[in-house]
């Protein structure tokens, strides 16, 4: 069984982003970029499925400008076998990403597709669910445990009330939550080896997908800042402030 993993290039999670002065977007010039943390978890899960003998090949795909190839190489260093880069000028909207991925699914016929639950830049949390709809597959979103049992996939999901387990028919889409696994670090020899692994470049036109604009970003602003607070010297002072100043207790 082949596993397809979608990975996105995003701002490093440690960086606090700033809004551009003209309010058109955030400023990503000279900002450290990385593999979206949820995608890292997705790659790790796919590699573990392969190591456990449940999968035979791990293919990673990323959509966006040329620089995405760095993140594909990172995924290859973590153990994926081959990469596909779909080159676009900017990272497209989730629905467009899902349409492109649906074409890749049609060509590659994976048994499982793993995505992150959320991009930490757009905070969309959409693409996996959309891909599942477009390909007619079931979806195991926010997964914290995955096991292949008798040709079906058991997925434990992190939901608001606790945990829920579903059995999905294969092929299926999974989106990862934080507790699914702890991704490994790529070792230097693996990083070297990854440079030689195959990486195919395609365009949306090659896949027969025309990208449409479904939403328009009108403005990006900095959030309201909080008034700087004070330090209290003791628990007594804290209680006094909460009672008499903030009046919340």
């Amino acid at each position: 069984m082949k596993v397809l993993v979608a990975v996105k290039r995003v701002i490093d999670y440690n960086v606090k982003v700033r809004v551009k002065a003209d309010n058109t977007d955030v400023d990503l010039a000279n900002v450290k970029m990385a593999l979206n943390p949820f995608c890292e978890i997705a790659v790790e899960e796919a590699v573990r499925l392969k190591e456990a003998g449940a999968a035979t090949e791990v293919v990673v795909v990323s959509i966006g400008p040329k620089a995405c190839q760095e993140q594909i190489r990172t995924a290859l260093a973590l153990g994926a076998d081959r990469g596909i880069h779909i080159e676009t000028d900017t990272s497209p909207e989730s629905l467009s990403v899902a349409k492109l991925l649906a074409k890749v699914v049609e060509q590659e016929q994976p048994g499982i597709v793993i995505l992150g639950k959320q991009s930490i830049d757009s905070d969309n949390n959409q693409t996996g669910q959309m891909l599942a709809a477009l390909t007619g597959m079931p979806q195991g979103t926010f997964a914290s445990k995955v096991s292949v049992i008798d040709g079906s996939l058991n997925v434990t999901r992190e939901v608001d009330g606790g945990l829920q387990t579903l059995a999905l028919k294969l092929p299926a889409v999974i989106t990862t939550d934080l507790r699914l696994n702890e991704p490994r670090y790529a070792k230097l020899p693996d990083i070297m080896k990854a440079k030689k692994k195959p990486l195919e470049v395609k365009t949306p036109a090659d896949l027969g997908v025309e990208l449409r604009e479904h939403t328009r970003l009108l403005k990006v602003e900095a959030p309201a800042t909080r008034q700087a607070g004070i330090k209290v010297a003791s628990v007594d002072e804290l209680v006094e402030k909460l009672k008499n100043e903030a009046k919340v207790i």
């Binding site: 982003v17 608001d160 934080l178």
Partner: protein
């Protein structure tokens, strides 16, 4: 123009998040229909009919919707939602699971986690863990949206008197099956609706030590939350995580104990009215958003606070 709101419920009662979503629908303006899809969910439909601003309740009561599996509910909504200008659901794990699937079936975008309505097709939503606020315009004929509860004050749960219309089930997707669930049992208020939240982080050191927070929470009638580090370390279950990728809360009072204040945590609580931080490291970033910061060892400060309340 009519708006379809998808009710959040557990087959026995309507969840509060639905009322916040109804408030956002009222701001968009237009007739509001509320869909209750479930199994044995008649009581929910009756409750839904009383919610302020609801023009009609659409109730689909069938065994296939017992667990509201996205594959099945999406087929239903893609069918009965076509005549609406907007389809809204709370940005809960249910809503987040379901709405993108509906949007893709309708070949339209989905807009996540709106916190404000500018007009009938333009919304504000946080991006980059709340470090930027985007104003987004929807260009599609049907707008599929999830609504962040903290952005909208709930409408009243009573006073309405909508008609309940029964709909028949759509065809079953036959793709997924419910196996089981482990739901957290708690007598405390729900995290996202509580007036006071007490959250613990890695500084608590263990799950047992959360008992000191629970005592404080009991005194305050508060819900208990946690940072990702506390969840990852196995101190507490995942449903307690507050943050960019967990729950979003905005209580009157948020008390962060042994939490450093990473941007991902702040994303989930920085709209709280009053923030208190208790941390032994005076440089901890949480103090930059706290109204009242106490530099102290939590194992001394929390029991003392509980005593003195």
């Amino acid at each position: 123009m009519a708006i379809l709101v998808i009710a959040e419920h557990d087959n026995s009662s309507l969840k509060g998040a639905t009322l916040n979503t109804l408030a956002s629908a009222a701001q968009i303006g237009g007739d509001i229909h509320l869909l209750v899809a479930g199994s044995g969910c008649e009581a929910v439909a009756q409750e839904a009919a009383k919610a302020e601003g609801v023009g009609r309740v659409l109730c689909v009561d069938a065994p296939i919707y017992e667990h509201q599996l996205a594959e099945d509910v999406a087929l239903l909504v893609a069918e009965c939602g076509r005549d609406y200008s907007h389809i809204l659901a709370p940005a809960t794990t249910n809503g987040k699971n379901l709405m993108p699937r509906i949007a893709a079936l309708l070949d339209v975008a989905q807009i996540s986690d709106i916190t404000a309505v500018e007009n009938e097709n333009t919304y504000r939503r946080p991006i980059y863990a709340g470090n930027a606020i985007a104003t987004v315009q929807a260009l599609d004929p049907i707008q599929v949206i999830t609504v962040r509860g903290t952005g909208f004050d709930p409408v009243s749960a009573s006073g309405g008197n909508a008609e309940v219309q029964m709909l028949s089930a759509a065809s079953a997707a036959g793709l997924s099956r419910f196996v089981g669930e482990e739901l957290a049992q708690s007598d405390r208020p729900e995290l996202t609706a509580a007036r006071v939240v007490v959250s613990g982080g890695r500084g608590l050191g263990s799950g047992e030590n959360f008992a000191i927070l629970e005592k404080l929470a009991d005194k305050l009638g508060a819900a208990v939350g946690a940072s990702r580090a506390a969840v990852d370390s196995g101190f507490v279950p995942n449903d307690m995580q507050v943050g960019q990728t967990g729950k979003i809360v905005a209580p009157e009072l948020y008390i962060a104990v042994g939490i450093s204040g990473a941007i991902q945590h702040l994303a989930g609580m920085k709209d709280s009215k009053v923030i208190v931080a208790i941390n032994k490291d005076e440089e901890a970033p949480i103090f930059q958003v706290a109204d009242y910061g106490l530099v102290a060892d939590l194992f001394d400060a929390v029991p003392e606070l509980e005593q003195k309340l």
